[in-house]
């Protein structure tokens, strides 16, 4: 439970930082620092137990279905990291109080910083791999926020994005690796998977697991060739660099390697990959560090190099190498953090980080200079400082390994070469900054920083010395327990002493020191050599890469999605052809069991009419009015087909819909060009024709197979129950208003919505008036031909009585609310055609949209009425009544429902057509009659 609270402290701190935004800067820092301090205080009582070899655990199930438990564990390794994170974190908080200027938002900075601290603590305290990944990604995010803190600087933005991209890519690989481990070993709990080394390493997927995990670790720890993001992350405020890029985040990758050391190491693949990566990183980092003019750049490359060193150690095949690695983690964190702080102070005091400008600071800030010199000496591996000790162990292990077989001797040699460069860049840092003449062109006169800004440095440098002199006392047991955790066994004996006698490692150290100083003295030639390479900054290359990526993506998207509907529909049709046609090819015989009907001459005539009219429609499609007339023939013939094959209801509906559609299309035609130019190439036509024919064949064949197929259907139920259960003899109508009344409710809703949508489309449409038809003829001046006007008026009551008739007979004979509604609508349209909107509109007392609403409500409420009788929605009711003088009449809920249908249909049809008619301007241009 304590562990839980320790983890939570930074989160509270983060929230506190945001809450305390009104306070003075010092109070802000203080209140923020309080939480890591509390965490440390909570941690201290646990230390003795951990140092005694105990592993403290805490956890509960979180998302057990994922295998993601909230699981914390504190062992030697996590203790070491926790101490680093909290300790250095506290120092950085204090340091940042002075570093940040008044223009910078302090709450934001501290919030991000503590968020990062939380994430980092989460990684090191995790007892569950997925949970570790959770915090791992959080570090990427929070570091992105911290690097981009000065978002007005392009370099900061780009650097942050690059860091995030690289580490997140690694994070994704790591996730895959972790998931694979989980799938192979059946758990993500460290306590359960770490003992299963053999099972994992014998699994076929082990190399994949290893590579994925290593990708995660290497990207995070800036290993070659993924190292490039780190120098560009230096755009972050220096406290961030001191914290993230020296002590903590970059160590997360190393931590991961150490954490999974028992599970993954021990194979040749591990040795080779990790060693070679570490070695190359060590060399690359050390080499490039020397040529940096930016102090932080030098430190960044140096960090890369040291991270390579630690990785190399973890890759070596001796157990003590792992101990050395842990030891160097501590040492590097201490001296590198203090060096970054130095860089920050120099930046703060001089306004520059360019070593070509900054010279002779010894004269301005001797105390800082002294501290920095001690720290860089540690970095160079000078005896009596902590850096020396771990470097000695490192040299020792390079000699005792056999990773590269007969070429293993290369490792100590290259290690020495790297050490020479390390000494050289350390020397450069000291000489070039603190000596080497006078500053050049600085904007302000440097002096010692504020008192408390230096305190963190002082503490760290003191630690360098103390560890360097009294290693066993300072960190002996901690190192021991950390090693136990990494090796999953007590490490072999080793001694933490300053003096191990005259041996090869000492010789290597001496060579490095002397060689490094010589190299620095003769640096001119090397600088000239390096200047010959025209390198571009990684962020520019990264930016260019991203630009290229974006361009390439854009090109491919534009090629695929070219905005052409014809392509889209073509693909859809091809898919249809494939999906519906393929099973047909397998079909042995299209014809089914059902007996066929004989055909007669009349049907052939009908088919000819239909086919010819359809084909003609296609052929004259560019003469639009003609095409419209042709398609009316098709519609008429389809209606007649419905009559012929005993579907009178369908015929009625098709006929009435047909006329409304024609009127609608004609209205459309007025607003669209009356003719269209021929544009298709014959190639396209052939393609389209082939596709259309193929689909026609497929659909026709399916229709044939379907018609001749003999299957039992649920229809007999409807025939049996229409009269007794639905109260009507027209089964089709009973299905519509009763058995499947819910469909009908949906259907009229569709119609109503369509009308609303159309009204919406028509509002605000530019008013339109074409002065002549497609042939350029002026329009006739007779707006409302007399005969039409008179006869239309006479037809209205006739049509209404017909629609009443059709409505009422629907339940028992063909007809119903829908057809009745359309007849009413058509009769009204005729009034519009004959007399115009201006005449009709004032005579109508009801809004069409209200009519739609009433219709839908009527149908719905009819359905709801059945609730009163505790029946489901739309349960129908009907009964027969004897009325004196009149006789028996039937009353049915279906009539009310159908009335709803009627109103909706009338409202919707008229809403559509009348409003479409309104969009023309009332007055047409006066034209001269051609004489």
């Amino acid at each position: 439970m304590t562990l839980f609270w320790i983890l939570l402290m930074p989160l509270f701190g983060c929230l506190m930082a945001l809450a305390a935004r009104q306070w003075s800067r010092s109070y802000q820092a203080l209140v923020v620092a309080l939480f890591p301090a509390l965490a440390l205080a909570l941690l201290v009582p646990l230390i003795p137990d951990v140092l005694a070899g105990e592993v403290i655990r805490y956890g509960f199930a979180w998302l057990p279905l994922l295998g993601l438990n909230f699981s914390l564990q504190l062992d030697g390794l996590s203790l070491l990291f926790t101490l680093l994170i909290l300790g250095i974190g506290l120092l950085v908080i204090l340091y940042a109080r002075y570093y940040l200027s008044t223009r910078d938002s302090m709450p934001r900075f501290y919030a991000f910083l503590l968020l990062f601290m939380l994430a980092m603590l989460g990684i090191v305290l995790s007892g569950n791999l997925l949970q570790m990944w959770f915090f791992w990604e959080l570090t990427s995010i929070s570091s992105f926020l911290l690097i981009s803190y000065w978002s007005h600087q392009p370099d900061a933005r780009k650097g942050a994005r690059m860091a995030l991209t690289v580490t997140a890519a690694g994070g994704l690989a790591l996730l895959a690796g972790i998931l694979l481990i989980g799938q192979i070993l059946g758990s993500y709990e460290l306590s359960e998977i770490l003992p299963q080394t053999a099972k994992l390493q014998q699994h076929a997927a082990y190399p994949v697991v290893l590579l994925l995990v290593l990708l995660g670790a290497f990207t995070k720890s800036a290993q070659f060739p993924f190292h490039f993001w780190l120098p560009n992350a230096m755009a972050a405020p220096t406290p961030v660099s001191a914290y993230l890029h020296s002590a903590t985040m970059v160590k997360a990758g190393i931590f991961l390697l150490a954490r999974l050391y028992p599970l993954l190491s021990g194979t040749d693949l591990w040795f080779l990959t990790v060693t070679l990566t570490g070695l190359s990183t060590l060399l690359v980092g050390a080499y490039f560090a020397l040529f940096q003019h930016d102090i932080k750049g030098l430190l960044a490359y140096s960090t890369i190099s040291h991270l390579g060193l630690i990785t190399l150690l973890l890759g070596l095949d001796t157990d003590l190498a792992a101990v050395a690695a842990i030891f160097h983690i501590i040492n590097h964190a201490i001296f590198k953090a203090s060096l970054f702080m130095t860089a920050g102070i120099i930046d703060h005091e001089t306004g520059s980080r360019d070593m070509r400008k900054i010279n002779g600071l010894w004269g301005f800030m001797p105390v800082t200079a002294t501290l920095a010199m001690v720290a860089s000496a540690s970095m160079a591996g000078v005896p009596l400082l902590n850096g020396f000790l771990s470097k000695e162990m490192f040299f020792t292990q390079t000699i005792h390994q056999g990773v590269l077989g007969s070429l293993s001797w290369l490792i100590p040699v290259l290690a020495t070469v790297a050490a020479i460069f390390a000494v050289a860049y350390s020397a450069r840092f000291i000489h070039d900054v603190f000596f080497n003449g006078q500053p050049i062109g600085l904007t302000k006169t440097p002096h010692e920083p504020p008192r408390y800004m230096r305190v963190p440095m002082e503490i760290l440098v003191a630690l360098c010395v103390l560890v360097g002199v009294f290693p066993e006392l300072m960190i002996g047991s901690l190192l021991q327990q950390a090693a136990v955790a990494v090796l999953a066994a007590p490490p072999p004996a080793y001694s933490l002493a300053i003096w191990h006698g005259l041996n090869v490692p000492l010789l290597m150290s001496v060579v490095a020191l002397i060689g490094g100083i010589l190299l620095y003295i003769n640096r001119k030639a090397l600088f000239m050599f390096q200047a010959g390479f025209n390198e571009t900054k990684a962020i520019y290359r990264f930016e260019a890469f991203i630009q290229r990526l974006v361009r390439r993506c854009r090109n491919s998207i534009e090629q695929i999605e070219n905005g052409s509907f014809q392509r889209y529909i073509l693909l859809l049709l091809l898919a249809l052809l494939a999906l519906a046609g393929a099973p047909l090819l397998e079909l042995q015989q299209l014809r089914g069991q059902r007996a066929a009907l004989p055909f007669d001459g009349l049907v052939i005539v009908g088919a000819i009419l239909l086919i010819v009219a359809a084909v003609a429609t296609v052929m004259v499609v560019r003469q639009r009015l003609l095409a419209l007339v042709m398609i009316s023939v098709v519609g008429l013939m389809v209606s007649l087909a419905f009559v012929r094959f005993s579907a009178p209801d369908l015929a009625l509906t098709q006929l009435s819909v047909e006329v409304v559609t024609v009127v609608l299309l004609m209205l459309a035609l007025y607003f669209l060009p009356h003719k269209s130019v021929k544009q298709s190439s014959s190639g396209h036509l052939v393609r389209d024709f082939t596709l259309a024919s193929a689909i026609g064949v497929v659909v026709g064949s399916l229709a044939y197979a379907m018609m001749t197929n003999d299957s039992a259907s649920i229809s007999s139920y409807f025939l049996q129950n229409a009269k007794s259960g639905g109260g009507g003899t027209n089964v089709v109508n009973v299905i519509l208003v009763d058995f499947r009344g819910f469909d009908t409710l949906g259907e009229i809703t569709v119609l109503g919505i369509a009308a609303l949508g159309i009204l919406k489309l028509l509002t605000g449409i530019p008013r339109f008036m074409a002065s002549a038809d497609g042939e350029g003829r002026l329009w006739s001046k007779d707006r409302h031909p007399l005969l039409l006007a008179v006869i239309s008026q006479a037809l209205l009551p006739l049509a209404l009585i017909v629609s009443v008739y059709i409505f009422f007979r629907g339940h028992n004979l063909p007809g119903g609310g829908f057809v009745a509604g359309l007849i009413t609508a058509v009769a009204m349209i005729l009034q519009y055609v004959a007399k115009g909107v201006d005449w009709v509109k004032p005579r109508l007392k009801v809004e069409y949209s209200t009519l739609i609403a009433i219709g839908i409500l009527l149908a719905t409420v009819t359905g709801l009425a059945s609730w009163l009788f505790d029946r489901p929605f739309l349960t129908s009711w009907f009964d027969y009544f004897d009325v004196p003088l009149i006789g028996q009449i039937e009353l049915a809920s279906a009539i009310a429902f159908d009335l709803g249908v009627y109103f909706t249909v009338v409202g919707a049809s008229l809403l559509i057509l009348a409003n479409l008619g309104k969009i023309t301007t009332r007055y047409r241009p006066v034209h001269k009659e051609p004489s």
Binding site: E775, R777, S780, K781, D782, P785, L787, L788, I791, A794, L795, L798, E929
Partner: protein, 117 residues
């Protein structure tokens, strides 16, 4: 076949023939204005005869009261002149040419103008 049925058969055939003749006229006549007279025949005589046949059939053969068919006739009688009127108006508006022998062709251009007596 009873006498009623013969009557029906005759009416049906007369009706069908007139309907067909109307359509033949449509194909055969030389210009739009003359063709326009064709369907009027089909409407009036052909359909009238068929309506009659149908009524006789249902009332006397099927023995059910059926006068609905009259409505169809009524409807057509009301609408056919309007259709013709609108069609010929459209034809004259589009300046569809009449055959040369047509007398008083200049009157076609009279639409909209007060004609000279």
């Amino acid at each position: 076949m009873s006498g009623i049925e013969w009557l029906i058969a005759a009416l049906v055939l007369i009706g069908a023939v007139f309907v067909l003749l109307g359509s033949v006229a449509l194909v055969k006549l030389p210009d739009f204005y003359t063709r326009l007279h064709g369907p009027t025949k089909a409407t009036t005589l052909g359909l009238g005869s068929l309506v009659l046949a149908s009524m006789v059939f249902f009332n006397f053969v099927q023995n059910e009261l059926s006068l609905q068919q009259l409505l169809i006739a009524l409807f057509l009688f009301i609408t056919a002149p309007v259709t013709a009127y609108m069609l010929i108006k459209a034809g004259m508006h589009q300046k569809v040419t009449a055959i040369e022998v047509t007398k008083n062709q200049h009157l076609m251009q009279a639409s909209g103008k007060k004609p000279a007596p």
